[in-house]
């Protein structure tokens, strides 16, 4: 029997529930536009997806946008070439969208797995740079071949037929389920043996391996899982935008993901979650007052944090003790 009270004493769990409830309420009460909510879930979601490999295992995947791109294009191609599917995509409470997104995410997971076998042998900066290389390689391949597949995909752009996207509500539901899955997966992984193994890898990979952690397997699993969710989010986001173009591969998305994780702090679930909420608040307020300057300011915040609080805002908080209770023990 699950002890409800026990869960309520876990701030991270409570925060996840709060975020999910808040988004659902905002949708039901029409506090925000559906597009805005989908965008928020997309950005927080990709940060939390990257967290699985970057935050837990310590592998900074700089080219993670490659999975947004791959799954975005796979999704678009599937829908484009299957009229029956496109016609029923926007029905049944978004379930068809969700299912096709799983297929698209699966392709990313497969790519991550195949690429990960060699590339995850690299450590630190070499891994980061190899993933950038991968992103560019994939981008240029898409740029070269998509227009060859079909002349209508001019400039590697695939525009989805309008009937694939009549009700944003269904897209919202598919995005919401995926988003919830990402958060819950983060939480479950962080508390599991798998999660402890990943954190040990990020501390010292050789020591972890020597203590029995199957490092290769764990890294591959985390990388593939991370790619899977990133891909699903990219696919649904592409649908919401009405089509995909090469911008999905743009490293700008990497910037968003990494900034959110670094602001909140690596090694936890709470960190990136809080980080991405802060990111959004800042982004929104700065966007209004200093539209061109928001990234300059966000970049400066990151620069300061890396120097003075390498474990981010949550890292500072976790070091504290309140009423004899060490926050480190309860903030996951």
């Amino acid at each position: 029997m699950v002890n409800v009270k026990e869960y309520l004493e876990r701030p991270t769990f409570v925060l996840i529930i709060l975020v999910l409830v808040a988004i659902a309420l905002a949708k039901l009460l029409r506090l925000e536009t559906t597009d805005y909510l989908i965008t928020i879930m997309f950005f927080i979601g990709i940060a939390m997806s990257l967290n699985l490999i970057m935050g837990f295992a310590g592998y900074v995947s700089f080219g993670h946008t490659v999975f947004l791109g791959i799954s975005g294009y796979i999704f678009a191609l599937i829908v484009y070439y299957n009229v029956w599917l496109a016609e029923m995509l926007d029905t049944l409470f978004g379930i068809p969208i969700f299912l096709v997104a799983i297929v698209a995410g699966g392709v990313s997971a497969l790519v991550a797995f195949l690429v990960g076998v060699p590339v995850l042998k690299l450590r630190g900066a070499f891994f980061a740079i190899a993933t950038i290389g991968l992103d560019f390689a994939a981008l240029y391949i898409v740029k070269a071949f998509i227009p060859i597949i079909n002349p209508e995909f001019f400039g590697a752009q695939i525009i989805l037929p309008a009937y694939a996207l009549a009700y944003k509500n269904n897209v919202f539901v598919a995005m919401y389920i995926t988003f919830a899955l990402v958060l819950i997966t983060n939480y479950v992984v962080r508390r599991s043996r798998f999660g402890m193994g990943l954190l040990a890898i990020s501390e010292d990979e050789d020591a972890a391996e020597a203590l029995g952690v199957p490092t290769r397997k764990y890294k591959l699993l985390a990388f593939a899982l991370s790619a899977f969710f990133t891909g699903m989010l990219g696919a649904i986001f592409g649908l919401n935008a009405g089509g995909v173009d090469e911008n999905l591969f743009n490293l700008a998305h990497t910037i968003d993901m990494i900034v959110m994780i670094v602001i909140g702090g690596i090694g936890t679930v709470m960190g990136p979650l809080v980080g991405s909420i802060i990111y959004f608040i800042l982004y929104d307020t700065l966007l209004v007052t200093y539209p061109e300057f928001n990234l300059v300011i966000l970049g400066s915040i990151v620069a300061v944090l890396v120097l003075f609080a390498p474990r981010g805002i949550i890292g500072i908080i976790r070091g504290k003790t309140i009423r004899g209770k060490r926050l480190r023990d309860i903030i996951e």
Partner: protein
């Protein structure tokens, strides 16, 4: 006595350098075996070959009769051979307890153990090495001496049969050395673990070990009881230098 690890003509090269050259010897169940040799003799390399960090270029290694040559390190750990690192490698941002828990969660009973059980095993071993009081501190704040004990508690939590200690005493003061020796003896006698220790602290290893293996330029130079080894002329010239000094170590 039963052979627990059999090292059979193991060779390991790094480029042109032969770090281990057809080294063969046995490790017996329940013993304390000392491995000595000058710097660069290949001691750490030998440990790395046994624990799977390197795979030997030639030769085989058997554990309880099973060929473990070339297995990945984590598999070998789960079979029951662990080692501590010459340069300590704590998980800095983990607490002391969490460090030891990793050992329990991924050790011999990996996957068959709950987090609660792991915590208990970890606590028990932290008590044994005298770190129980620091269990909630971050490992990064420990002294070198404590970090070495943490290494020990961590590998003990993996519930191994054989523990390889790579210079566990280096850098400790005499009092800490005595403390460590008591713990090592206890792990051997009371817990029944086989112990192989690489050591430069000569009097310590000569006293505690039942048998000694001497490596020299990657070759097995000698094997025997501390007394026998200390009297072998080739060992004396190669390593100990002075016969009286060597015997003094044994007597102390």
């Amino acid at each position: 006595m039963d052979v627990i690890i059999k090292i059979d003509r193991v060779t390991k090269r790094f480029g042109g350098l032969v770090a281990l050259n057809k080294v063969s010897f046995n490790i017996y169940k329940g013993e304390i075996l000392g491995v000595i040799g000058p710097n660069g003799a290949g001691k750490t390399t030998l440990f790395n070959c046994i624990t799977g960090v390197y795979s030997p270029d030639d030769g085989r290694i058997y554990f309880n009769g099973v060929d473990i040559t070339g297995m990945p390190p984590h598999k070998i750990t789960q079979l029951g051979i662990v080692k501590t690192h010459q340069i300590v490698k704590p998980f800095n941002e983990f607490t002391v307890l969490e460090n030891a828990m990793i050992g329990a969660l991924f050790g011999k009973r990996a996957g068959k153990i709950s987090k609660e059980e792991a915590r208990e095993i970890a606590l028990k071993n932290l008590k044994l090495v005298g770190l129980a009081e620091k269990k909630d501190e971050l490992a990064i704040g420990l002294t070198l001496h404590e970090k070495k004990f943490l290494e020990l508690a961590r590998v003990l939590s993996a519930e191994p049969d054989v523990i390889l200690l790579d210079e566990a005493l280096a850098g400790l003061n005499p009092k800490e050395v005595e403390e460590s020796l008591d713990i090592i003896k206890m792990i051997n006698k009371d817990l029944g673990k086989t112990i192989v220790m690489v050591e430069h602290v000569m009097h310590a290893v000569m006293n505690i070990a039942e048998r000694i293996v001497v490596l020299h330029f990657g070759q097995l130079l000698a094997e025997g009881t501390p007394k026998e080894v200390a009297e072998m002329p080739e060992v004396i010239t190669a390593y100990l230098g002075d016969k009286d000094l060597a015997l003094k170590f044994v007597r102390r």
